[in-house]
Symmetry: C2
Subunit: 275 residues, 2 copies
């Protein structure tokens, strides 16, 4: 692991690091905020997964999580959203290829070599973080935005014992039922939609996956609300499965970090209470 | 005035606007956050002046001021740091020309046409803001970072009746006594250093200018501390003039927005108490 930068912030350290990933076959960059803590202490670890086009830097710059993470004693980690580099295949659109890994392990030709973001985020990066940071791996939570909200929900639903808390800002709740998902999962996983179900929060719940509870914030002025995000599908799925879902519908808020930062504190408190 | 973007944030609106400036002869862009407020209410107005290389966007993205500005009911406005455009003269360095207006009215050839950031920030933009936003122009405060800290201090010292509060993050306190100042004021104002004094916080105080009190936060791991910033000069000047100066020296903090955002709340409260 190489340290790219560290900056003191709110009494702790915001760092940016890189390492060679065996899963993606590339160098991967990620951001970690470690709040002030006593020597030898192990702190709860909160994963933030970013949306389409983002890197580790968007939430680090605009997410406004450090003040309260410092107060609550949470480590916050933000991985990149895809492998990067000239040797990595790409696509002209913003919603597939680089910056759009969708937190899946691709199985289709071309994409399967590098686009292994599921295994990277679920397995490889946690192992590195456990070694390098003062994280209590028994107290992990996960959240994210849009594509990263999809990532957080699906990863938590597949690993309910590992992640004690889950929340999302404006998540894609069902890639099976929206154009972004059709394109990305079709591209990474092929035409057999049975293989998509483990990457679809609503389908996972239908198929029996469970978590303790879920918090979602959704802006009502979000341009992607009706065509791509469809929170009502998650409401239905949670309802049928008796999963307590808190869905906050926020009048006038859009899909941007102005929205995310406005409700960041609520999400950090949600996780802190469960970690 | 043209609206470039508006986003709801913390119950208020973060906007970005542009207008044709008579002072600079260019289109100028600025950011304004208006917190939630009752219809017809007039709110205190806090000016944030940015540092070298910045635009209106840096503090808007990374300053983390909206949460508390919303709570305290402060309008926060962030102008650009210089005129922009292909017709505006520039300089190869980051510390002179575009992005480095130093909040002066230039008097030297080439620069005097567009680089009128003093008149722009002191006179032209306030007149526009008074018309377009629910600002109580009798309750204005000003703060800034680095070059913008210099701007805030000098503008407040020259206009103590207009700005009721002033603070700075890592300000350039004496352009007469540092390389950044030598280069910029020499370039914009020429060799006669008598003309520089109204753009030097320490010289203004020596020459009799006064404000009620000053808050400064300075990181002790700031790479520019010893050669460029020299807060001890401001301590001396304030001491001799009996101006109460609160100088917080922050161990381990650098010159970045990670530092600024860490102490943003303290500065917002400082201003709110005085407005």
């Amino acid at each position: 692991m190489e340290t790219l930068s560290t900056n003191k912030a709110f009494g702790g350290v915001q760092g940016v690091y890189s390492h060679d990933s065996a899963e993606t076959g590339t160098e991967m960059t990620f951001a970690v905020y470690v709040p002030p803590h006593a020597d030898g202490a192990k702190l709860p670890l909160l994963w933030y997964l970013s949306g389409l086009t983002c890197t580790h830097a968007n939430v680090m710059d605009k997410g406004e999580y450090r003040r309260l993470a410092s107060e609550l004693g949470l480590i916050v980690i933000a991985p990149d959203t895809s492998p990067r580099g000239e040797d990595v295949p790409d696509h002209a659109g913003y919603d597939f290829g680089k910056g759009a890994g969708f937190y899946v392990d691709a199985t289709t030709e071309i994409w399967s070599v590098n686009f292994r973001m599921r295994s990277y985020v679920e397995t490889e990066l946690p192992a590195l973080v456990a070694k390098q940071f003062p994280a209590d791996m028994k107290r992990q939570g996960i959240f994210g935005h849009s594509m990263g909200g999809h990532g957080a929900l699906t990863i938590a639903l597949r690993n309910p014992d590992r992640y004690k808390s889950v929340s999302a800002f404006a998540p894609i709740v069902s890639p099976l039922q929206c154009p972004w998902g059709e394109k990305a999962l079709g591209g990474y996983l092929g035409k057999d939609k049975a293989a998509w179900r483990e990457y679809d929060a609503c389908a996972l719940i239908e198929d029996g996956a469970r978590v303790g509870d879920i918090l979602v914030d959704q802006g009502l002025a979000d341009d992607f609300l009706e065509e791509q995000l469809k929170p009502e599908l998650l409401v239905d799925a949670c309802d049928k499965a008796s999963i307590p879902l808190t869905l906050n519908q926020r009048e006038g808020y859009d899909h941007s970090y102005f929205f995310i930062s406005s409700f960041m504190d609520d999400h950090l408190r949600w996780h802190a209470e469960r970690l």
